[in-house]
């Protein structure tokens, strides 16, 4: 019997959590993450400016103006401007946000409000110029992320759920734990949980690539080069609808992502995405 074990037996182990910094995010992940934040912010704000030029969505190749599945606009009711939004036959009063909102105190008919569009006033030409500039930045950045993620094994090692994580009971357990805002500690915190992995993979491999492809499908010139894009998405107006839906899903992801960042340790999470170091608590025997 070695001395260390003997000591441990002699005085009962007291588990004392100790913070250790582990290397969580590679430089490539950190850089591409922040470039992504920048480009997606500009793409969203300029995209809403572009949406406002014709705030209605359709399915198929062409617009059926009398029958959009989503439309927003303003009208005068009882002497004041009201915003109305229709989604799949359901009508909503969205005054102040969609359809009609105030710009410098003056009520205007517009899709999304001024504080969500770039530029804030109605200016499609400038909105488009921003959108295409940041689209290039976004695509080049995304290509670097995916290439480095495949080459370094980051996607397979860190993002692909392991067999034990895919066990339905484990997935349910994670959902319950998340609902109670209890997050992994200790050794388990070294890896992403299965819900995180699913969300990150869904965004990186499904939503963001769909944004690029549906965006390309809206280009008459690229449709000539890649007619299969129209077949894939069911026409240009369908592509515009899917582009809008995916943008909303990305916004929903960002909201949940930011909430999780705050709830599971704001400073630790932000530090890990800047310096790469993430603190986890490991239990070790008292000396």
């Amino acid at each position: 019997m070695t001395e260390a074990v003997a000591t441990a037996i002699a005085s009962p182990r007291v588990a004392r959590p100790r913070k250790v910094l582990v290397r969580r995010h590679s430089l490539a992940v950190r850089l591409t993450h922040w470039v992504n934040v920048l480009s997606l912010t500009f793409l969203l704000l300029s995209g809403l400016q572009i949406f406002n030029a014709h705030p209605a969505l359709y399915w198929g190749n062409a617009s059926t103006f009398a029958d959009p599945w989503l439309a927003t606009g303003g009208g005068v009711q009882g002497g004041r401007l009201v915003g109305q939004t229709m989604i799949a036959g359901w009508h909503f009063d969205t005054t102040g946000f969609l359809g009609a909102s105030r710009v410098h105190g003056v009520w205007q008919v517009r899709g999304f409000p001024a504080w969500l569009t770039l530029p804030s006033e109605k200016y499609l030409a400038v909105g488009r110029r921003y959108h295409f500039f940041f689209a290039w930045l976004f695509v080049i950045n995304g290509a670097i992320y995916l290439a480095s993620g495949l080459l370094s094994g980051h996607l397979r090692r860190d993002l692909l759920p392991t067999r034990d994580q895919l066990n339905p009971r484990h997935v349910w357990h994670e959902i319950v734990e998340h609902a109670r805002l209890r997050f992994a500690k200790g050794e388990e915190a070294r890896r992403y949980n299965v819900l995180q992995k699913g969300a990150y993979l869904g965004v990186a491999l499904v939503l963001l690539p769909l944004m690029v492809l549906t965006g390309m499908t809206m280009s008459p010139s690229l449709d000539a080069s890649f007619p299969w894009l129209l077949t894939l998405f069911g026409g240009r107006q369908s592509a515009r609808s899917i582009h809008f839906i995916c943008a909303n899903l990305i916004v929903a992801f960002v909201i949940v992502h930011l909430a999780m960042v705050v709830l599971s340790g704001l400073w630790n999470n932000i530090r890990s995405m800047i310096t790469g170091r993430y603190a986890i608590e490991v239990e070790e025997p008292a000396p």
Partner: protein, 260 residues
């Protein structure tokens, strides 16, 4: 004296609104700064080059079946020119209308509508994509631009084809920049689907859609599809046409290469 909102909530709302207003104004000042826009504009050249790289000179825009023709094809921009010259031509059923082809050509032309109709033609059912986001499908029949330019004989120095239109679109603009115009470089002008259309969905082109003659350049957005075309001019530079950016909307901030 400035009246202050009485309630605390009102004050907070006013403060919030003015902070938001300042942030928006600041963002706009940066976003619309010419130097910033100069950097942002790098994307336009990148778009044009990428789209050219991905297509051969003869890659066709998708064509559709007649069954998919839109019943509600929207007429946008000018829908009924108020210009006296045009009104006179329209009242006469365009009998006195002439298409002038000039500039850097060997044989300047002045063609009647019947003469334009006698040129080799092409019929195509294509999708029209407005820069605003909507689309419509229509069948177009018109004279091939290649045939028209061959008849006039392009000089080797010609690099762009400018389409001058009858309609005044911005009466408040400086002289020479009031009427609609568009331009094509030679790759697009000589594309097989580039036609000067005089028929839409099997009928004579109507005034809202550009009678008697409009451009169809199918790999481009709607604002490229000049209506009420009066003159086709071959030039070596766009610098002295309109404000020099190659089109009525390009002069106002939109891309000349309207491929996306």
């Amino acid at each position: 004296m400035i009246t202050l909102p009485s309630s605390r909530r009102g004050w907070l709302k006013a403060a919030g609104a003015s902070v938001l207003g300042m942030v928006l104004a600041g963002c706009d000042r940066i976003a619309e700064n010419p130097k910033v826009l100069g950097v942002i504009d790098a994307a336009e050249g990148l778009n044009r080059r990428a789209q050219r790289l991905l297509a051969s000179r003869r890659t066709l825009a998708p064509e559709f079946s007649r069954a998919s023709i839109s019943r509600d094809f929207r007429a946008n921009g000018t829908t009924n020119p108020a210009d006296d010259d045009y009104r006179a031509l329209a009242e006469d059923g365009f009998a006195g209308w002439r298409l002038v082809v000039d500039g850097l050509v060997d044989h300047p032309l002045s063609l009647s509508l019947d003469q334009v109709r006698a040129l080799p033609a092409r019929t195509q059912v294509t999708r029209h994509d407005c820069v605003e986001g909507w689309s419509g499908i229509a069948e177009w029949k018109g004279a091939r631009m290649t045939a028209l330019l061959a008849a006039a004989g392009l000089k080797p120095t010609a690099r762009y084809i400018v389409l001058h239109c009858a309609d005044t679109f911005d009466a408040g603009a400086p002289e020479g920049q009031r009427k609609y115009y568009e331009s094509l470089d030679l790759v697009d002008a000589l594309h097989p689907q580039t036609i000067l259309a005089y028929e839409m969905n099997g009928e004579t082109l109507a005034i809202p859609h550009g009678a008697p003659l409009r451009l169809r350049a199918e790999k481009h957005l709607g604002y490229k599809q000049a209506k009420y075309v009066m003159r086709v001019e071959a030039v070596d530079s766009l610098d002295h046409i309109g404000a020099g950016k190659g089109g009525f909307w390009p002069d106002r901030g939109y891309e000349r290469y309207a491929g996306i």
